[in-house]
Each structure stands twice: as structure tokens, then as C-alpha cells.
């Protein structure tokens, strides 16, 4: 039987990363939020672009 992989160390590191982000100065956190907003916008734009390409491909296949 396969043994379960212990990921507790990974989870603890992730928790420590969250704690260190929480300790950042407010100004730095606000800057991170701005970058997250940009990233989110880029992902949405890319999704919309891919959706357009998918529709075009589907239309071409239907011909």
C-alpha cells in the first residue's frame, strides 16, 4: 500500500509566508493589491481573447 505523503512542512511554510505578508507595511500591501488587480485584469483579458479564438475556430470547423 502506498504511504501517504507528508505535506505538513509545506503547509507550515505556506502559513509562514502568509504571516510574513501580513506583517508587511500597509503601503507595501496596498501596492501588492494594485499588482493583483493588474494580474486579474490581464487574466480576464487573456480569457476573453482565448474565448474569441475558440469561437472563431468553432465557426471555421463548422464550415
Amino acid at each position: 500500500m502506498k504511504e501517504k505523503t507528508d505535506i505538513s512542512e509545506i503547509l507550515e511554510r505556506k502559513a509562514e509566508r502568509r504571516r510574513s505578508l501580513a506583517r508587511l507595511p500597509y503601503e507595501e500591501k496596498v501596492e501588492i493589491v494594485r499588482r493583483l488587480q493588474e494580474l486579474s485584469r490581464e487574466i480576464k483579458e487573456s480569457r476573453d481573447e482565448n474565448e474569441g479564438l475558440r469561437r472563431m475556430r468553432k465557426t471555421a470547423e463548422g464550415r
Binding site: 501580513a22 508587511l24 500597509y26 503601503e27 500591501k29 496596498v30 488587480q37 486579474s40
Partner: protein, 158 residues
Amino acid sequence: MEAEGLLGRYAIGGAMAAIFYVEPFTTYDLDIFFAASVSGGLALMAPVYEYLAAAGYEAEGEAVSIEGWPVQFLPTYNPLVVEAVEQAAEITFKGTPTRVLGAEHLVAIMLQTGREKDYARAAKFLEEGVVNVERLTDIVSRHGLTDKWREFSGRIGE
């Protein structure tokens, strides 16, 4: 605006206040809670919107776009929010003094609002240990939120 008498005492609330205490997460707007001495619905906001429009910041729906941030001005709408603004923490942002709602009041408001995302945020506050549980218990008991607090504590195993 507070100094010019346009707004009563104000403080940053909502997600941007939460980010003061916990790790940053994606949010798109900035909520400003302000003490309103009179009730007047949206008419209460007219002088604020006029002042901001004169400074070049236009209204976008229910918010005003200020330096790329949709800012929503919300009058203190119940006793819990009134108290939260009265007791907000004084901070500075890039050298400018401002205020942010206290961690315990934010969690109490999250419990009161009661959406799933509020509970998730409240859980984060407790996980990160940024809340004084004794102070929070006092706030929830004074604002009729003890049942919600018990239910929430049961959910997260506090």
C-alpha cells in the same frame, strides 16, 4: 474633507481595512465609513461628490474614482459601525494620517454582514492571531451578535 467639515469622523473599512491586518488579497474598491449626524440617504453624499468632482474625481455608479480606486463613502449605518468608527485606529499612509477600523470591530461587522466571504475573512483574522478574542467577545455581546459568534466559532473550531 473631514477637516473641511464635509465628512464627520471617518475610517477605512471593508477589504482594504482587512488588508491592514492580514495578508493582501484582491479587492477593487475602498470603503470609507463616516459619521453622519443626520440621516438623509444619498442626499447626504451630495456635498462630498461635489467637492470631489471639483477636484477632478468623477462619480462612477455608487463610487467615486480617486487615483484609480473606486471609493465608496458609507454613512455609519448602525450602532456597531458607529462605535467602530469612533474607536478606529490612527495610522499613517505614506505620511498622511488616516484611520482604519480595528481588527475586532471588523470581525464583528463581518459576522453581522454574514456573507460567506465575510466568514472566510473573519476566519483568517482568527487564524493569523490578529484579534483580541476577549475584546471581540465584548463587542459581539454588546451588539447582539453572540449567537452568530457562537455559530462561527463552532464552524472554525475556536
